[in-house]
């Protein structure tokens, strides 16, 4: 319980500095990750969800979009493992079908946010001066914006559809990434090896791509895992206000917001709709947390 020094120092002290240094960053991180059973379970679950997302369409026992009005809101049975929804569609099949959409939204939206965020953050952090001021103000303006209005505006300009939900969420959430990357680039910019590279005559572009971005990589990976659940949750909000994926397609958020009306009469519908979403979000959060600890202790203060 009592810590004498922090761990790195401690290992150095007891002659175990080699433990910290002898392996590569990722190998080392993987080794540390393996030590956390929670992270492994989470990773396994994410793997399972990804599997569902890819092979889901071949696994659904029923057509997820085809309903039979004769069997509306039925409890779980041998034919309908998770019961049926308000239009008599198979909840189990819809949950699986929704996996692809929800996960896709999470990953693609976050990738978009990351791309924009990393570019903007790097530019702001690296060049500083008026460019930094401009981007920082932009970030500030965007963060003080009503989320819904902004989301609407993007959706309006782009029109409805899954792809545009990706883009909307991506455009909404890049500011956080940019802020983090900006800070890190500013720190790295003055680091010795960047100085050395500069002294060796490297041009700015190669410094950015050879030194800064690779060094932000672990931050980027962590942000990706930590923000995917956020994007999945955002989709729930979009569905709640009736701007989700195009009907009759299912997404977790859509099922969750539609099922809540039937919570008393068909509780299983709501529970099963939310279950996979919650578990996935939980898995991503757990995994992201462990990954951050393993990869980049500096990110702790995020």
């Amino acid at each position: 319980m009592i810590l004498f020094r922090n761990r790195t120092k401690l290992y150095e002290e007891v002659g175990m500095a080699d433990v910290l240094r002898d392996t590569g960053l990722y190998k080392d991180a993987w080794r540390r990750l393996k030590r956390s059973p929670a992270a492994l379970v989470a990773m396994g679950f994410i793997g399972f969800v990804v599997f569902l997302a890819i092979f889901g369409p071949y696994l659904t026992p029923h057509d997820p979009n085809l309903g039979n009005l004769m069997v509306r809101l039925k409890p779980p049975s041998a034919t309908h493992w998770f019961g049926t929804d308000q239009l008599g569609r198979d909840v189990f099949s819809r949950v699986i079908a929704g996996t692809r959409i929800s996960l896709f939204i999470g990953v693609v939206a976050e990738l978009i946010a990351l791309t924009i965020g990393v570019i903007m953050g790097t530019i702001a952090g690296f060049f500083g001066g008026w460019v930094d001021k401009l981007i920082s103000r932009l970030i500030e303006i965007l963060s003080s914006f009503p989320f819904l209005l902004f989301a609407l505006a993007i959706m309006m300009v782009l029109g409805p559809g899954i792809i545009n939900i990706f883009i909307a969420i991506g455009l909404l959430s890049w500011t956080n990434v940019a802020r983090l990357i900006r800070g890190q680039v500013m720190r790295l910019k003055t680091s010795e090896y960047v100085m050395a590279a500069r002294a060796a005559g490297a041009n700015e572009l190669s410094i950015i791509f050879k030194h800064l971005i690779p060094n932000c990589m672990s931050t980027i990976i962590v942000i990706l895992t930590m923000d995917i659940p956020g994007a999945i949750m955002t989709e729930t909000f979009f569905s709640y206000i009736g701007m989700g994926v195009r009907p009759p397609h299912a997404s977790w958020g859509k099922m969750l917001s539609e099922s809540r009306m039937y919570m008393r009469t068909a509780p299983t519908y709501s529970i099963f709709s939310g279950l996979l979403l919650m578990l996935t979000v939980l898995a991503f959060n757990t995994f992201g947390d462990a990954l951050r600890d393993a990869l980049d202790p500096r990110l702790k203060n995020k």
């Binding site: 004498f4 002290e13 007891v14 002659g15 030590r35």
Partner: protein, 333 residues
């Protein structure tokens, strides 16, 4: 036990229980510190000297544990004390100052507050005003200019040397019997180092506090220590008076250490600085024989097989086969 012995460490073993195995960071060390004496604990980084300090303070970090031995302060075994009793000892009877004066002070409290802190826990008889007076007195003692003003300042407003003085003041607040200095001058400029050492010497004179000086800087040792204990890989390999150690190093490791210090003699340039060959042994592995043997110029086959015992030599102890009775002393040279 001698009348004037303040601290006696007997066969102390502190091990770290890691997933990979048990790391024997301190493996059976014994030494004594007399009242008013300064003992230097010398060794390379990783030899366990800071951990010895931590063991004495009862602050061994978590995978580590003191597994055996005695730490007797005025005859009381500190290892038998509860956490609560240990807390009464820390900061009042044994205090400690650290290597990094820049980080050892809490940046968000005034230095006055931090100096008064040990008084708050150990000298409950003092009023706040008295404690403040005491703190200012201490600042003054450590030759900090304008102590009344400094009292209200924050660590970041002071220079490194000043901060180290503050740390010393803090350590002296409750008139401790033993002051452990963990490389107190390593992080400081050379000129400041000298000032701090002078201060420590002066304090020792004035207050008669015993000091354990943990350092790898032999220059510091020479200047301040009465006795020296050389540590290597969790063991004390040689212990003797400063004079003896410097003039007549007995252990090959001590010898090597001394040789690796550049000596500037006028008109003469040392051709090459001596380097100890090889690596510090991995303490996770079980070793047989003398741990220094692989790096020792004098090593014989025997050294790799049998753990050397401690041998009494003039004024001290040395743990090297070469001093065993069976060995012909002539072999030494």
């Amino acid at each position: 036990m001698h009348e004037n012995t303040l601290l006696e460490v007997n066969n102390l073993r502190t091990h770290f229980f890691l997933e990979k195995g048990v790391l024997k960071a301190i493996d059976g060390i014994s030494f004594r510190v007399a009242k008013g004496e300064t003992l230097a604990l010398v060794g390379e980084s990783g030899c366990g000297k800071s951990l010895t300090a931590a063991s004495i303070m009862g602050l061994v970090p978590s995978p580590g544990k003191v597994v055996d031995g005695e730490i007797l302060l005025n005859g009381e075994d500190l290892l038998q004390k509860t956490q609560k009793e240990m807390r009464q000892v820390r900061g009042s009877r044994i205090t400690m100052i650290f290597q990094e004066p820049m980080t050892a002070l809490n940046p968000v409290f005034t230095i006055g507050w931090q100096i008064m802190e040990p008084l708050r826990y150990h000298r409950k008889d003092l009023t706040k005003a008295e404690a403040k007076e005491r703190a200012i007195e201490l600042l003054d003692l450590l030759r900090i200019p304008l102590p009344r003003q400094r009292f209200h300042e924050y660590p970041h407003q002071l220079s490194g040397g000043m901060r180290q003085r503050v740390l010393i003041a803090m350590a002296l607040a409750c008139d401790p019997d033993l002051l452990i200095c963990d490389e107190p001058t390593t992080a400081l400029d050379v000129t400041v180092q000298a000032q701090i050492l002078d201060l420590l010497l002066e304090i020792k004179e004035k207050l008669g506090t015993s000091i354990i000086m943990i350092t790898h800087d032999l220059g510091v040792v020479r200047e301040i220590a009465d006795r020296v204990a050389i540590m290597y890989a969790g063991k004390i390999v040689e212990e003797n008076s400063t004079h003896e150690v410097f003039n007549q190093p007995r252990h090959p490791y001590t010898e090597a250490l001394l040789n690796s210090v550049p000596r500037i003699v006028q008109g003469e340039r040392q051709e090459e600085l001596y380097q100890i060959p090889g690596m510090v042994p991995n303490l996770l592995k079980t070793h047989q024989g003398c741990l220094f043997a692989p790096r020792c110029d004098y090593a014989k086959e025997l050294c790799f097989g049998v753990t050397p015992e401690e041998h009494l030599v003039l004024g001290g102890l040395v743990a090297c086969r070469r001093y065993s009775e069976e060995v012909d002393l002539r072999e030494l040279n």
